[in-house]
């Protein structure tokens, strides 16, 4: 019986290295490729006919498109329009990563802090750059809201700075923790099913329920990751 952490192990499938940096193609990369291929197939094959009255697959692809487009419009407004491809790619990539992780013996690349933090850092740096490009040095106002009494600066500014810089951590760790804990829980409870004989139906029932819950969490965490990105983007474009 494999331990509950074994499912997170990175296994190189092809060893590669450039300039001493290890860039081996691993199971993580393989599942990223699978996710990317599935997203691409889903979004292109379903729209191949581009029918006026959509079929089931085209309808699903359009629903995803409009879901993300509305999320962006509601949270950022029309100024966020040009970031739509990025937000859409982010949402689909994270969601497919989460959902593919639900396949037994697959690999959940979003359960890895390195992947999540890299994504979060790109978002954080990108949003900060957008903020400074749009507002110049006025963007520093983010750390001291307009209209606050000057005496509160000594408390407000450190708080705002900490909250601003904790964004990538909260983004990355939230997704990592949700995915990791869910998978560990499934594995541990799944282990009980075989261990305790006929009484195993109890953990099995629990496992069934948690599996449903985990599917919900997989979609929900992708949504949370994306909507927080939208909110950060809103701050960068419109300030507070």
């Amino acid at each position: 019986m494999a331990g509950p952490l074994e499912q997170f192990e990175i296994k190189p499938l092809a060893d590669l290295s450039v300039g001493g940096v290890d860039i081996s193609f691993t199971n993580s990369a393989l599942w990223m490729v699978i996710a990317a291929v599935l997203v691409t197939c889903f979004m292109t094959l379903s729209m191949r006919r581009g029918a006026l009255v959509p079929g089931r697959w085209q309808g699903a692809a359009e629903v995803m498109y409009e879901f993300v487009a509305n999320m962006l419009k509601d949270n950022v407004g029309s100024a966020g329009r040009k970031y739509f491809p990025f937000i859409f790619t982010l949402f689909m990539f994270v969601m497919f990563g989460n959902l593919l992780g639900m396949i037994p013996h697959s690999f959940t690349f979003t359960s890895h802090i390195a992947v999540n933090f890299a994504l979060a850092l790109v978002i954080f740096v990108g949003v900060t750059v957008i903020g400074f490009v749009r507002h110049g040095t006025h963007y520093f106002r983010m750390f001291f809201p307009e209209g606050a009494p000057i005496a509160t600066a000594i408390i407000l500014i450190p708080i705002e700075i900490i909250s601003y810089f904790s964004r990538p951590f909260s983004l990355a760790i939230r997704l990592f923790a949700n995915m990791t804990v869910g998978h560990i829980m499934l594995k541990v409870i799944g282990g009980f099913v075989g261990l305790i004989g006929i009484l195993g139906v109890l953990p099995f029932a629990l496992l069934t329920g948690i599996t449903v819950l985990e599917f919900g969490i997989a979609a929900l965490q992708a949504y949370v990751f994306t909507i927080l990105t939208c909110i950060y983007l809103h701050d960068a474009i419109h300030m507070h």
Binding site: L5, F8, E9, I10, P12, L16, V21, D22, I23, S24, F25, T26, S28, A29, M32, V33, A35, A36, V39, T40, M43, T44, M47, G50, A51, L52, P54, Q58, A61, E62, Y65, E66, F84, P85, F86, F88, T89, M92, F93, F109, S111, H112, I113, A114, V115, A118, L119, F176, T180
Partner: protein
């Protein structure tokens, strides 16, 4: 925990960036424009159809208005014709009645004149006869021959009263 094995970070992040970039390219250049185009086309189609329906409705309304105007005109014309015809008939009737009245009154006056003539004739005849009778009577009764002139005078003095 394998998540904290720093040795695997470089490979994960490298492939993340490569695959994410490729997916971003595929989405932004191929997949999303197509979806956007289809949605836009559908929206345009719906609006076009609505516009067409509105235009057809306007056309129908115009046709109905035209038809009603024509109907009203025809009704007016028919009423005018009826009025004219009845007026003409009434005028003719009046004329005929007048002619008839004239004719009748002429007949009446002619008849009255004839009656008056006949009466005058009769009166003269009576006076003559009276004077004749008066002369005969005086002759037979008292044997006096009265002149015709005198008898006439006496009779007309009595009748003329």
């Amino acid at each position: 925990m394998p998540q904290f094995d720093i040795a695997t970070f470089s490979e994960q992040i490298f492939w993340l960036f490569v695959i994410f970039a490729v997916l971003y390219f595929l989405m932004s250049k191929i997949a999303l424009p197509k979806v956007g185009e289809v949605l836009e086309r559908r929206q345009k189609n719906i609006e076009d159809n609505l516009g067409k329906a509105r235009a057809l409705k306007d056309e129908t309304d115009a046709a109905i208005a035209k038809y009603e105007a024509a109907l009203a005109e025809a009704r007016d014309a028919a009423q005018a014709d009826i009025r004219e015809a009845s007026e003409k008939a009434a005028a003719e009737q009046a004329k005929k009645t007048e002619a008839m009245v004239k004719k009748l009154s002429k007949k009446t006056s002619d008849a009255e004149k004839a009656i008056a003539d006949a009466k005058a004739d009769a009166m003269t005849g009576v006076a003559e006869a009276a004077s004749e009778i008066a002369r005969e009577a005086t002759d037979k009764l008292i044997g006096v021959k009265v002149q015709a002139k005198t008898a006439d005078k006496a009779v007309s003095a009595i009748v003329g009263e």
